[in-house]
Symmetry: C2
Subunit: 336 residues, 2 copies
């Protein structure tokens, strides 16, 4: 084994936007699996907004990435050496491999994926963490009922696209908030959303009034900031807000902007509830099966935005915060 393992290690806590100098990009020989271990060739690295939070010091739902550690990331790859009877060379697996070419595993933190079910990148998107987040966040926390008006922000992203399509499957009226005419056209024309609001060119408050005349029953929030406030102002009686993320606030150097309109919760007897996808790990299997069925039936479409080359990591990550990706953002590290 003379393959080299390139790694992005976090070496500084970013202030504001992430920059290349927050990482060290190193190269060393790929490790050799010990007893019970497998060596995985990383093929795709998942880029997710939550990664920004993991770079910060402080108590959260998961410990921060330590300085000097390989940056945490979801990955899909192929077993290239195995001392573990449960995995054979050639198996495809998903897990938390990190931003690197090769990773060792004891087999407990990886899951075999079936590439006949869907292309490998889909296991980092709709059939991976973002899809699970959308599925459980919408259905378990948002609890949409047939006929409800569901609004989702970050609607053209990996989570938002699934939230909107699953809400449609459940018989809801769906309004997506996204940035720019291309994304807005795509979620309506291709994904079947009922309407789209372009927050970059439209007054979101006004557009929500127009598209949600009976108010918003479920608002799935990926962005925070002014858009959360606009949704709060339009909540229907007993409406539910799912707090999934706050991408507009992750790179703040000033304190997070709290939602000034939170007293709308009182007026409308509404609720705002946080969710973390890891809480539903036991049920991922059932969700993957149901979503794969919807995909097969053409009711759930996926799109991946794939950038080539591990070495592009810091700049590719920034695409998320600039709103430059459509669908699930991934880095392709190597051919399968």
């Amino acid at each position: 084994m003379t393959e080299m393992n390139r790694q992005f290690k976090l070496v500084a806590r970013p202030v504001g936007m992430v920059k290349r100098s927050d990482f060290e990009f190193t190269s060393a020989p790929a490790p050799v699996p010990g007893p019970g271990q497998v060596l995985i060739r990383v093929l795709y690295v998942s880029l997710d907004p939550a990664m920004r939070g993991w770079m910060n010091e402080g108590r959260s739902y998961i410990p921060p990435v330590a300085l000097g550690e390989v940056m945490r990331a979801g990955t899909a790859g192929k077993v290239v050496a195995s001392n573990n009877p449960k995995f054979a060379v050639g198996d495809y697996v998903a897990g938390w491999g990190g931003v690197q070419d090769y990773v060792l595993s004891d087999g407990k933190d990886i899951t075999k994926v079936d590439p006949r079910l869907a292309p490998l990148p889909v296991f980092l998107g709709t059939l991976g963490m973002p899809g699970m987040t959308a599925y459980f966040g919408l259905l378990e926390v948002g609890k949409p009922r047939e006929g409800d008006t569901v609004v989702v922000s970050g609607a053209a992203g990996a989570v938002g696209t699934v939230v909107g399509q699953v809400a449609k499957i459940k018989g809801c009226r769906v309004v997506g908030i996204a940035g720019g005419p291309d994304k807005c056209r795509w979620i309506v024309d291709e994904l079947g959303f009922d309407a789209a609001i372009d927050y970059k060119s439209q007054d979101v408050n006004k557009a929500l009034r127009e598209h949600c005349p009976k108010g918003v029953d479920v608002y799935f929030d990926n962005v925070g900031g002014d858009i959360l406030d606009a949704a709060l102002a339009r909540m229907a009686r007993h409406g539910r807000i799912v707090i999934c993320g706050a991408i507009s606030q992750y790179n703040n150097t000033t304190p997070v902007k709290g939602p000034s309109n939170y007293l709308s919760l009182l007026v409308n007897r509404a609720s705002m509830t946080g969710m973390v996808v890891m809480d539903y790990t036991d049920r991922f299997g059932e969700a993957v099966r149901e979503m794969a069925g919807w995909m097969k039936a053409g009711r759930l479409k996926t799109r991946e935005d794939i950038v080539d080359g591990l070495e592009t990591f810091p700049e590719t990550l920034l695409m998320l915060f600039k709103g430059e990706n459509t669908g699930k953002l991934l880095i392709k590290v190597a051919d399968a």
Copy 2:
């Protein structure tokens, strides 16, 4: 009938703190009941933080008081003339009589109260709207479980005192946040709270860390602002925040301060839910019976802060926003 009816009519939408000039104080002969009507002599006027909201223009859970209208207020009084077979002269009733000496009713918006069950002022406090708000907000929205840590702000007020005592009855550990050493001593020594935090002299963040080492399971918020943020920062996994009011924000001339720490909802899978007491009207009877039982057993104590004279209304109302009352604030209008 030559009695005079004094009335406070709202004539201006207050900017910031309410002032006397926002009202017109008039006097006219008391009205005469028509067919089916009763005339009520108002004996006590309830002063509640929510009144500040009713003075503002705009969509809320209840229409605003119109300019020129008698200021809306809860009242307890005595029937002095009746053309309604359901009410006899001498009956005691509670209702929305407004800030005035006399009020007509068709009998549908008033409830007979039994002065043998409790003194009349208690029907505007613990056995009235504030008590109902505390009871249903805590039990139905907060859903405390035995052993939970419950924190309540405005802890020495009409709602807070009941929230804390009912939480104790339900087997919770209770921490109250109030202003000043007298209130803090009172809620611990007399009402049986486990601890009190004086927000005027203590660092609330630090004190919550100290008094809630396992985090806050239920936070009942009457105040908003920085105290809401401090509670958010200490929420336990799956904690519940009940949004009942935001007295710190009602007289703002700048936008409401949204809770900067709202992403703690995500980290802790916690929720923040608004409540309006009117939604539970059908169940007030059951709550009054249970609470009266606790009062009789000495497990639920009440305290009223009674100011004499209808004419003091604007200044007495301000006591709420200055935190000058302990227990339920009322105006005594006339002797029973």
